[in-house]
């Protein structure tokens, strides 16, 4: 509050971390954040479960697309709730919700990581080029990102999804087919501009800084300055923002699936399961609760980890 700032400034820097590598230091700072640490453990367990989904399905005795319509559906086709053998109950086709929830983690994790990876890469590369080169290329890329952000997301997603669903080939010569592939494409299209802007702005300010000047003075080429001098200095904002993009991508996938634009129902996904649940939630709560809790927990965990990553990179950011 009303503390004379100079007092704090005159204090010595913390003794913590003398003689440790920056990575080890960050890990130390990350581990201090208990919520982030627990979240990371949860995500690791979830990832292992997703990879081992066939094994878990085998142990449960039900495949993700096995139908138990005589035992788990009533004569009206309504699903039955959790039992000893169907821990999370059955869905409207008599499939094991537990096994499908475990399989569903695959879609969320793949979308979160792959879409973010692609979008972040595009954003970083374009941002570096635009910020460093400037000129017409910068204008072109910046305007493109503006236009993308102005696109009506839903309309575009629905249009792209139906246009690519008309024929067996999909669209863009078979490069984009409905399902996971298309979902990732849609997310990437709408996610890269934000990263682009961050990297571009950071690059612009770095371009004027002394060490880049120094690089030029010793005769480094533009490209090597860009990758050897500028890029390393961008790692912190890029990693921090990319960490935040993962939960956003997962949420985006869930929305698309909920609106029927996501992966087809035969591939278990949490958003898709929740879409089905929306028809039954008043009578079959288990269809909504289990996939939803997993979805929430995963997004929350990624958000908490992102918080932890930000603190680890920039301890001053938290107030």
């Amino acid at each position: 509050m009303s503390v004379d700032v100079s007092i704090l400034e005159s204090a010595q820097p913390p003794a913590l971390g003398t003689g440790r590598s920056p990575a080890a230091l960050m890990w130390l700072r990350f581990r201090v954040n208990r919520a982030a640490y627990v979240s990371l453990i949860f995500l690791v367990v979830l990832t292992v479960a997703a990879i081992a989904a066939p094994l878990i399905a085998h142990l449960a005795g039900h495949g993700p697309n096995d139908l138990y319509r005589t035992s788990m559906l009533d004569s009206f086709g309504n699903p039955k709730g959790p039992t000893l053998h169907f821990w999370f109950g059955a869905d409207a086709s008599g499939r094991d919700v537990f096994v499908r929830v475990i399989y569903g983690a695959r879609v969320s994790l793949i979308v979160g990581v792959v879409a973010t990876g692609i979008a972040a890469t595009i954003g970083v590369v374009f941002g570096l080029i635009a910020g460093f080169r400037g000129g017409g290329l910068d204008t072109l890329l910046s305007r493109t990102s503006d236009v993308v952000l102005a696109l009506p997301v839903l309309l575009f997603a629905i249009g792209l999804s139906s246009a690519c669903s008309n024929t067996a080939q999909g669209c863009v010569g078979g490069a984009v087919t409905p399902g996971l592939n298309l979902v990732i494409v849609i997310i990437v299209i709408f996610a890269w501009p934000a990263m682009f802007r961050i990297v571009r702005a950071a690059t612009l300010s770095l371009r004027e800084s002394t060490f880049v000047e120094a690089g030029r003075a010793v005769g480094m080429t533009g490209r090597s300055i860009m990758f050897r001098e500028v890029l390393p200095n961008l790692i912190s904002p890029v990693v921090v923002y990319a960490a935040l993009m993962i939960p956003e991508s997962i949420l985006f996938e869930a929305y698309l699936s909920f609106l029927g634009l996501g992966v087809p129902g035969t591939t278990p996904s949490w958003g898709g399961m929740l879409e089905q649940a929306s028809q039954y939630y008043t009578t079959a709560w288990w269809l909504m609760v289990f996939p939803g809790v997993f979805l929430l927990a995963t997004i929350l965990a990624f958000n908490l980890v992102a918080d932890g990553v930000r603190d680890a990179f920039d301890p001053k950011a938290t107030k």
Binding site: M1, D4, A11
Partner: protein, 342 residues
């Protein structure tokens, strides 16, 4: 000069920080008198502002620990219930700050900021309050105060803003005005005007003034009494003319030597070598010791007390009294290994 208004006794202020406690003020004792100006001088971080923020109880209790006594007319402010403290701030003590642009609320008209003070401390109608605000502006010499009252801080000049601050601090006619670096952000001509205004008000309404400044020159213009602070302690205190005429502490010497002479004829400008110590990690003994050109082994043993050596003039240095004047003229070249010359 016997009418003590504010008396600070053995004040300690400690801030909690991740790197250990910071002892910002450490056993300070001071007095301000009615109708007189006390100048408090020191580098930034010497604890001069913190002392008076503590007196106003404006330090965050979550981070600052305050002990000792601060008496206003004999009443200890530190133990006063916070509700009563509110009736001290404003009606009894007014305070103005270094950067008037930052210290005035940017979104409120200056007149409203003054009348708000009035309304917080008395049952007064909106109209009367704004009339009195205009009058207060007029009193601090603001031309066309009606118009100015309706303006926002950013629309005024720097000097004008500080006048507004003064008007606001004095509108409730307090006994004491604490001016924390009131002229630092202003240019020299405006500084003179503001100092003259403060001095004028002091004589006109018998106000006690505490003038906090890092600048000896500023203080020397208006102060009756001067206290020099270093690293949370007063190291010299006395009537203005004595402190500037016969400074006793090597730090005060250093301060005066680093001052450009007004006549411009001084041959050398000598800055004090080194930097003030970290308040979280104070040196043993005299805090000025490591930077002192006259250091003796005994300096590192004990924190010297402030001792009154002439009438009203005290210092906290263990150098023998009789040789000081000579020493000041011939400082030793390498303070670190120095022995005082006989």
């Amino acid at each position: 000069m016997s009418d003590v208004l504010l008396e600070i006794e053995n004040l300690h202020v400690t801030f909690a920080s991740p790197h250990g406690p910071i002892r910002a003020v450490d056993g300070l004792s001071l007095r301000a008198e009615r109708g007189a100006t006390l100048g408090v001088v020191g580098e930034s971080g010497s604890g001069k502002s913190v002392t008076f923020l503590a007196a106003m109880r404006l330090l965050d209790p979550a981070t600052a620990t305050v002990s000792g006594r601060i008496r206003l007319d004999g009443v200890d402010l530190l133990t006063l219930p916070s509700r009563e403290m509110q009736t001290v701030r404003g009606p009894r003590i007014g305070m103005i700050f270094q950067d008037p642009l930052a210290a005035l609320h940017p979104l409120l008209r200056v007149g409203d900021q003054i009348s708000e003070t009035l309304r917080a401390h008395g049952d007064i109608s909106r109209r009367d309050a704004s009339d009195r605000a205009v009058a207060a502006l007029r009193r601090v010499g603001i031309p066309s105060p009606d118009e100015r009252a309706r303006q926002y801080p950013h629309e005024l000049s720097g000097g004008m803003r500080q006048r507004v601050m003064i008007a606001m601090a004095l509108v409730l006619e307090p006994e004491l005005l604490i001016a924390d670096e009131p002229t630092t952000a202003l240019d020299t001509t405006v500084e003179a005007q503001i100092l003259a205004l403060i001095d004028d008000l002091r004589t006109r309404i018998g106000l006690g003034v505490v003038l906090i400044s890092h600048s000896l020159a500023t203080v020397s213009q208006v102060a009756d009494t001067v206290a020099v602070m270093y690293a949370g302690r007063a190291i010299e205190r006395g009537p203005c003319s004595d402190v500037f005429g016969q400074p006793q502490h090597p730090y005060t010497w250093g301060l005066l030597d680093s001052l450009p002479a007004v006549d411009g004829g001084h041959e050398s400008l000598t800055p004090i070598p080194g930097a003030p110590p970290s308040l979280a990690d104070l040196p043993p003994g005299c805090r000025f010791g490591p930077r002192c050109g006259y250091r003796m082994p005994a300096c590192g043993e004990r924190v010297p007390d402030l001792v009154e050596r002439h009438a009203g003039h005290a210092d906290a240095c263990i150098l023998p009294m009789d040789g000081r004047e000579g020493l000041r003229r011939a400082p030793i070249a390498h303070p670190a290994n120095s022995e005082p010359a006989p």
